[in-house]
Symmetry: C2
Subunit: 614 residues, 2 copies
C-alpha cells in the first residue's frame, strides 16, 4: 500500500545506467545556473529599503542608489575571481572542493556547513518570496501564506525525488520571461516617469525620518542588499555540465549573468527611487513598482507569476546542489552514508528529504516571512565565497606557475572583499539572527568530524589488516537454544530445523504462569519432543534476563567465549495489520539479543496464509 503511494508520487524506479547528464549550451545553461542569483533581485532592493526608510525616510531613495552601486561593484570583483576558478576546475569547483584541496579538511567542513545552512535558507527564502509574489497579486491568499509556502516546498521535494532536473527545459521559460518583463518594466517605467510625465501615486506613506544617516546604517543596508549576490557561485560548480568548450561557455554565462543582475538590480532600484516604493510585509516592493508602471492589468499579473516561477527555480537550484554537496561530504566520511544512496529515480533522495523538512521547519518557525528569514541568509554564502577565494590564492602560491602573482592577486582581492562583506553582514545582522549561523557552523563541523571518527573506528575494528582474524572451532558453535512460549507447528518447524544443524539443543521456556508451564510440559511429553525443555521462572515477566542468566549459569554446558545460537520461531502474518494483533515479544527479544557479542540469532519464519474473507 505504502509502496504504491510512493510509486504514484515519485514514479517507477529507474535503472542505474539510465542516469545521464545533459550538457548545456549557453542559452540553456544561463536560466538553469543563474536563476538563484537573478531571482534574488526580487527581494534584495526591498531589504535595503527596510533598513533605510524607518531611519532616514525619503532620503533613503538617494542612498539606495549608492548602496546598489557598491553591490554591483562587489559583483564585478566576484566575477573576476570566479573566472579563475572556472579555468582551474574544469570538473567543477565548489567551495567545499576548493577549500578541501587547498586549505584542508576543517576549512572545507566550514565551507560545507555554511553552504548547507545557506541552501536550506535558499529554499525557505525563495519559496516564501515566491509566495509573497502571489499574495501581492492576490491579497486574499495572505492568510494562507505559510500553507502555500509549505506546499511549494513539498511539491518541489517530490518533483526532485522524481528527478525533475531532467525536465529542466521547461524551466528556461520563466527565467527568460522574468528577464524580459523586468527589462520592459524598467525601460517603460523610466519613459513613463520622464517622458509621459506620470506622477506616482503614493500608495504607502513614507515614514518621517527618525535619525541621521550613519556609517552603520549604510553598512546594514549594504548587508541587506548583498543577498542579491547569492547564487553567483553556481556557475563555477557546474562547469562540467556545459557543452564543449565548457570553460569558455561557463565564462560566457557568467558574463551574461553579471550583465543581467546589473541591469535588473540597478534598474529596479532606480525605479523604486522614482516611484517611491515602501516595503511592507503584505506587498512586495517589486509588485508596488509593477502596479504603478503597468497598472493592475495583464502585465502586472505576468510579472508576479514570472517572479514566483523564477523564485521557485532558485529554490530548485538548492534541491539539486545540496544533495550533491552532501553526497561529496558523505563520500569523504563526514556525513551519514545514507546521503550517498541514490533513490528509485536516481536522485539523492535522502538529501532531498532532509532539505525539504528543514526548509519546512524554517518556514513554520518564521511564519513564511521572507523579511524575517533574510538576516540568517547570505552570511553563509559569503563565508563560503571567502574560503573558496582564499583556497584559490593558496593554489596559486603553491603552484608558482606563470603569472601566479597576478592570479593570486585577483583571487586575493576577491577573498578580502568577500571576507569584509561577510564580517559586515555578520556584524550588522548578528543580533537579528545571524548569531544562529555562527552558532550552527561550529556545531555542524563538530558533528561532521565526529561522524568521520565514528566511521573510522568501525572501519578499524572491522579491518582485516594487521589483526588476528577470528576463527571458530566447530564445537563452540553448536550450542543451540530455542526459546518457546508454547508448542505449535511454528515451534515444531523451528525445533526440526535446529535439530538438522546441531545436536546440542535446549528448548527454553520462561514461565510467568505456573499453570501454563505445566500444560506445556504435558504437551511436550504428549508429542514426544526429543529436545530437552528447560523452564525458568521470571518474576518480572521478562525473557531476556532469565535466558542470559541461564546461558551463563553452571547448568548450561558452555564455556566463556563460546558462541550460543538462539533459534527463534516467528510466525509471519501476511496482512499489514496482522502484526498489531500479536505480542512482539520475539521481535523485541531478537533485537536485544543482537547486542551480545557471542550470540547469533536464527529466525525461522512460519508464514500464516491469509484466508479468504468470510
Amino acid at each position: 500500500m505504502l509502496a504504491n503511494l510512493k510509486q504514484f508520487l515519485i514514479g517507477k524506479p529507474l535503472k542505474s545506467e539510465e542516469i545521464h547528464h545533459e550538457k548545456y549550451s549557453v542559452f540553456r545553461g544561463l536560466p538553469i545556473l543563474s536563476s538563484d542569483a537573478i531571482s534574488s533581485v526580487a527581494y534584495a532592493g526591498e531589504e535595503i529599503l527596510w533598513v533605510l526608510i524607518p531611519v532616514i525616510g525619503i532620503l533613503s531613495y538617494k542612498y539606495l542608489f549608492y548602496v546598489a552601486l557598491a553591490i554591483v561593484m562587489l559583483l564585478c570583483i566576484l566575477v573576476f575571481s570566479y573566472r579563475q576558478t572556472i579555468d582551474s576546475y574544469p570538473n567543477g569547483g565548489g567551495s567545499y572542493k576548493v577549500s578541501k584541496e587547498n586549505l584542508g579538511t576543517t576549512w572545507a567542513l566550514i565551507a560545507g556547513s555554511s553552504l548547507t545552512i545557506d541552501y536550506i535558507l535558499t529554499v525557505a527564502v525563495s519559496a516564501s518570496a515566491g509566495t509573497a509574489a502571489i499574495t501581492s497579486a492576490f491579497p486574499k491568499a495572505l492568510t494562507h501564506k505559510v500553507i502555500i509556502t509549505m506546499l511549494i516546498i513539498i511539491i518541489m521535494g517530490i518533483g526532485n525525488l522524481r528527478g525533475i532536473s531532467e525536465s529542466s527545459k521547461l524551466f528556461s521559460l520563466p527565467t527568460y520571461l522574468f528577464i524580459a518583463v523586468s527589462v520592459i518594466m524598467i525601460v517603460y517605467g523610466i519613459i513613463k516617469f520622464y517622458i509621459l510625465g506620470y506622477t506616482p501615486t503614493q500608495v504607502q506613506a513614507i515614514p518621517e525620518a527618525t535619525g541621521n544617516i550613519t556609517i552603520l546604517l549604510i553598512l546594514r543596508a549594504f548587508a541587506g542588499g548583498c543577498t542579491a549576490l547569492t547564487g553567483v557561485e553556481a556557475i563555477s560548480d557546474g562547469v562540467p555540465n556545459f557543452k564543449e568548450p565548457a570553460q569558455k561557455n561557463a565564462k560566457v554565462v557568467l558574463f551574461f549573468l553579471t550583465l543581467i543582475i546589473m541591469i535588473i538590480f540597478g534598474g529596479i532600484s532606480y525605479l523604486a527611487t522614482l516611484y517611491k516604493a515602501v516595503p511592507t510585509l503584505d506587498k512586495t516592493v517589486v509588485s508596488q513598482i509593477t502596479e504603478q508602471v503597468f497598472g493592475k492589468g495583464i502585465m502586472f499579473y505576468i510579472m508576479q507569476i514570472a517572479t514566483t516561477f523564477i523564485l521557485i527555480m532558485a529554490a530548485n537550484t538548492a534541491f539539486s546542489d545540496l544533495p550533491l554537496l552532501l553526497s561529496f561530504i558523505a563520500k569523504d566520511g563526514y556525513a551519514p552514508r545514507q546521503f550517498l544512496t541514490r533513490g528509485d529515480r536516481l536522485s539523492y533522495s535522502n538529501g532531498i528529504i532532509v532539505l525539504s523538512f528543514a526548509a519546512i521547519f524554517l518556514t513554520v518557525l518564521f511564519k513564511g516571512e521572507t523579511h524575517f528569514l533574510l538576516p540568517l541568509y547570505a552570511v553563509g554564502v559569503f563565508i563560503s565565497f571567502t574560503l573558496s577565494q582564499t583556497g584559490m590564492v593558496g593554489k596559486w602560491i603553491k603552484s608558482r606557475k606563470a603569472g601566479w602573482r597576478h592570479k593570486a592577486f585577483i583571487n586575493g582581492v576577491g577573498a578580502l572583499v568577500t571576507l569584509i562583506t561577510a564580517i559586515i553582514i555578520g556584524y550588522t545582522k548578528f543580533l537579528h539572527g545571524a548569531w544562529v549561523v555562527f552558532f550552527l557552523i561550529p556545531l555542524i563541523v563538530h558533528l561532521m568530524k565526529n561522524v568521520r571518527k565514528h566511521y573510522d573506528e568501525i572501519a578499524e575494528q572491522l579491518s582485516m589488516e594487521n589483526q588476528d582474524l577470528p576463527k571458530f572451532n566447530e564445537r563452540k558453535l553448536k550450542h543451540f537454544i530455542v526459546p518457546v512460549g508454547g508448542l505449535n507447528k511454528s515451534v515444531l518447524k523451528t525445533l526440526n530445523y535446529a535439530k538438522c544443524l546441531s545436536d546440542d539443543i535446549v528448548a527454553f521456556h520462561v514461565s510467568v504462569d505456573d499453570e501454563e508451564s505445566e500444560k506445556l510440559k504435558r504437551k511436550w511429553e504428549k508429542y514426544n519432543i526429543a529436545v530437552p525443555l528447560v523452564i525458568k521462572k521470571s518474576p518480572y515477566r521478562e525473557i531476556k534476563k532469565p535466558l542470559m542468566k541461564y546461558i551463563f549459569s553452571e547448568e548450561y554446558p558452555s564455556s566463556p567465549g563460546d558462541v550460543v545460537t538462539i533459534v527463534m520461531p516467528q510466525f509471519v502474518v501476511s496482512a499489514w495489520w496482522g502484526n498489531i494483533l500479536h505480542n512482539q515479544t520475539a521481535l523485541i527479544l531478537k533485537n536485544t539479543l543482537l547486542r551480545e557479542q557471542n550470540i547469533a540469532v536464527i529466525t525461522v519464519p512460519y508464514i500464516i496464509k491469509s484466508q479468504k474473507k468470510s
Copy 2:
C-alpha cells in the same frame, strides 16, 4: 536513556507475586466504587437546565424538580435489579460477563463496546468537569482549559501505570469531603433561604421563555439528567473486592450510594430552583449555588476543590475498570492480546495507554467542554444496563429455581426501564452526537469479531492436532547463503560461523558498481576465502530481488520446497545514535526475507566497541 525516563515516570518493575488485591470494608469501598456515580451530580442537574431554560425560561425550575424525581425513581429500580446481580455473581458481574453467559457472544460484545466507549467518555467528561470546577473558582485559568484537562488525564495515566489503585486510601478523603460539604450546603442553603430570608442575587439573567413545555422537552431534560446514574454498575462489578461477607457489604454500599445520590442530586436540584442558577459554559451551576450559599469564602473554594477531586476519582474508576474489561475481552480473543500483558508495575499498561490517548483525543476534539461531550455519554451506559438486566432475566428463566418468576420480574422491570431510557437518550440526543455511538458500537463489534477470526485462523494453522506435522530432512536445510557487501571482520566471522554449520555455502554479492565488485573479488582471492563468491548485477540497486532470483535459478542447487538459510553479518554499534549513521540494508533485507516460507535467516552480530571520547 528511554528506559531511565520510563522508570522515573512509572517506577521500578514489580514482581508478579507482588500483585495483591486489597479487600474493602464498607467504609473504604463506598468512596472507591461510588465516586463515578456520586460525581455525576456535579453536571447532571446542569444538563437538565441546559435543555429547559432556553425554551421555557423561569418555568424550568418547577420541571427540574419533576425530572430529578423521575431520575431518582429510575435509580431505585436499578438498585433493586443490581441487588440481584450482586447475589448471583459473587465474583463480580459486569455487563460483559453477564451478557456473555446468558445472551451470547454478540450481545456481550455489544455490551463490551458500549462500555469501552463510555469509559473513555467517563475520563474525558470527568476530567473536563473537574477542570470546569477549577476554572469556575479561578476564571483566569479558563483560557488553558484544554491543557489543564489534558494534564489531568496524563497524570492519571502515569499514576495508573505506576499502579495508583494501591494507594487508594488517599482517595477516600475527597469523596467523603464532597459528600459532607454538599450536605452542609444543602441544609444551610435551605435554612438561608427560608429561615434567614436571604433573597438570591440574580447573577445571570434568566432568558425569556421562547416556547412551551412539551413531552419531547421533558424527555430531553430527562435524558440529560440520566448522566447522574452512570457508574451505578461499578459496585456489582466489584463484589469480590469486598471483605466477607462480600455480597452483603456490596449491598450495603449500594444502599448508601443510592441514599447519597438521592440526597445530593435532589438537594442540589432543589437549591438550583431556590437560587435560580443558570447554566453557562464558564461557570458551573454547582459553583453558582455554592457562591450564593456560602459567599466567595473558604467554603466556596473547599467545595470546588472537593468537586475537582471527586471527578478525578471518577475518571480514575475508568482507568481501573476499562483495562480490566479489555483484558477480559482479550482473554476471549476478541481484542488484541497486548491488553492481557501486565506492565512493569503489574497494571494492564496497554489498556491504560490506549484509554489515555483516546480521552485526550476527545478532549481536544470537544475543546474540553463537558457540555459538548455529554450527548455522547450515557447512551452506552444504558445499553449495557439493559443487556446486563436482560441477561439476568435469561438466567432466571433458564434456572427455574425457587422464586425465579419474582426475580425475573424485578430484572425484567429493570431491563425494560433501562431500555426505554436508552431509547429516550438515543432519540433525543441522536443529532447532538449520540449517532456517533450508534455508528461506533457495530463497528467495534465487527472489528472484535474479526480479531477473533484472525486469532482462530492462526491457531488453526499452527495447531498440531489432526494435521501432518512438518518434517525436514537434513539435506534440504543445509543450503546456506551469506549476502556480503564487502569483506571485513564481521563478514569473516559470519562466514566462519556458517562453515561450522554447513558445507553448502555461497557468498552472494549484489553489484551496483563494477569497480567495487572487482575490488571485492581481488580481496576475496587475497585472503583466500574458501567460500565461492557469486556476483550478480542489480540495475535497480536492490538486493532482495536478485537474491531471490538466484535462489530460484537453475544455477543454484536447490529443489523447490528446500529451505534456504540466509546468514547475515550485522555489526551492532552500542551507542543509540550509531544506527542513524549506517545504511539499514541488512535490517530491511532481513525483514523482507522473513516473508518467504522457505527461508530462514541467521543474524551473526559483530559488536563494535565504543571507544573513549578523544
